[in-house]
Point group: C2
Chain length 336, copies 2
């Protein structure tokens, strides 16, 4: 069996539950909220509650489980977490393909999803990121928008899915399609995806970075990614785009000179533009990393009057505001 | 595309959302809560809120979506529901196998699940139910505990999964394994599963029925189903057992003479015994049909102090108790 949520190297189970984290396998196995059967939670007044049960589903009472997952420590302290595991697939195949434009690559991803193929991973890496990886690792990947794919299933089924996906991506303008079954060769094929965070940072060590985290409806994904791609160039900022495009979630890593007020403003402005476009598309300001302090300013815009219900729940369970105060909910703007 | 939740012939989308309904496909595609992206909800005070967004995942704010799904109309009125759809699988294969004992059949189901096979349907039908179908439909199914299976995928993958499942069920004592790909033959193979509710009722038209709905951890499923099976005989009651065993959810349809106080007591007693055993196993009193009035008496036992948090949420959002009063939460037992 294996645990399917993989947001990054240093994530803890508690932190992942607190932020409703997800990652590259979410398109197939779901995010953190989908893996949690039960939480033992200590409330602000010292009561200890169980939010779920060990059954895979329930129609009993209110679903407190889902409410506490993603509450970032503001409603209670998690002291026990019961998780789901998944069977390790018999056969895994990795694939990589690249395209002329970022829109072509996202359109290809959308076509794969709507064809009902149970893809396990489908990651976008833009040409800027590939360039940074080539510079960092002395590799020679084609410096073009790429999709990195993974198939989980049995051998015969994966082979048939790969043939089908190959047709779909070729129709969408794919320039090259490679796949590997051997575990070492799979790792090599995916190397660019694994190293891109280091590569982007390494290549511009004098610059600071800011990362966006919007998630949009699949039908609006191409427009949103293309918008971010264009605006990076328009504003003359360095950076790169990566996306868990199977979920509609993508990150723009914006690099900027921390000593230039103009660049800081440009970076903040781009972040705002990307969030605004995502919200106008029916999406969310944070797909997997949480609100914290940075996304407080978008909570009213995203949730409207529902935000008042959230604030009322917080005040009911934590009237003295002792649990991670100041996070998730912009309580002082309530009457603004 | 298709919508994957199939609790029964007359279910409405609103009712399914209100009870967090599920059905035979839940083992693969999830229950109702997993399909809901967003709800427009009218609260008791007239405010209209959106509980989610159109993105497939989010880490923004509190997850009100999951809380309102399954609240049975007690927290607000749903006026709009945004759902997920799934791609129609390229290839569907149905299968049926039967076993010597109900424990063998459930053990086989558990082995299929833990092998990581992405089964789309896996339904238990006990020998009593098969007997009723044979009498009702003049069929000649082997009158033994049976599993009804369905595989969704591509042709090559399904073939390989079927070969694997055949090995697993034979090791678990399967006496016969049949499968069909053609849609008409598939329907015939599954006929007994589709007709069993009518058959059980038809065969005993003078009797009333009561149906249990527990869901237990997969590791406790064999014990719980075998217990129900034995107790039906011990108490001398008619009935049958069917189960969405991939979720750990099973129903005992208990038939009893509505004019005999003794039989009514026996039926109620069996229902209580089955729920108590499920709760002791870490399960839930209702896997998919909701609390309503009938399961009020188990809410404290199942949820402990968490029930007080649910009651506080209800009183916060509906202080005058105007929304489906008396359902889900045993408010008057609060200080009992």
């Amino acid at each position: 069996m294996f645990f399917s949520v993989d947001p990054g190297a240093d994530a803890s189970i508690g932190g992942m539950a607190a932020t409703n984290a997800s990652g590259t396998l979410t398109v197939r196995y779901g995010g953190m909220r989908d893996q949690i059967l039960n939480l033992e939670v200590v409330l602000a007044d010292g009561r200890v509650i169980q939010t779920g049960s060990l059954a895979k589903k329930s129609s009993s009472g209110f679903h407190l489980n889902g409410l506490f997952v993603g509450s970032e420590g503001t409603l209670g302290v998690f002291t026990e977490i019961a998780l789901k595991l998944h069977g390790i697939p018999e056969n895994i195949v990795a694939a990589r393909c690249f395209f002329k434009t970022v829109r072509d690559s996202v359109d290809a991803a959308v076509s794969i999803l709507t064809a009902g193929i149970p893809i396990a991973r489908i990651e976008l890496v833009d040409s800027r990121s590939i360039k940074a990886v080539n510079a960092y690792s002395e590799t020679d990947y084609p410096e073009a928008p790429s999709l990195f794919l993974e198939f989980h299933g049995n051998q015969a089924g994966n082979q048939e899915d790969i043939e089908f996906v190959k047709e779909i991506v070729e129709e969408a303008g794919c320039l090259e399609f490679l796949f590997e079954t051997d575990s070492l060769k799979r790792a090599l094929l995916w190397k660019a995806r694994h190293e891109l965070n280091y590569a982007l940072r390494h290549g511009s060590r004098e610059l600071a970075s800011m990362t966006t985290d919007v998630c949009v409806p699949i039908s609006a994904l191409s427009d949103n990614v293309e918008f971010a791609d264009t605006q990076l160039d328009v504003l003359g900022l360095k950076g790169g785009i990566v996306g868990h495009v199977g979920d509609g979630n993508f990150h723009v890593m914006i690099l900027f000179d921390p000593n230039s007020l103009e660049e800081i403003d440009k970076a903040k402005d781009l972040n705002r533009q990307i969030v605004n476009k995502a919200l106008l598309s029916g999406g969310t300001c944070t797909g997997e990393h949480g609100v914290g302090l940075g996304k407080l300013k978008y909570q009213r815009q995203e949730h409207g009057e529902a935000l008042d219900v959230m604030i009322a729940f917080k005040q009911l369970l934590d009237p003295n505001n002792i649990l991670n105060p100041g996070k998730v909910l912009p309580i002082n703007e309530k009457n603004a």
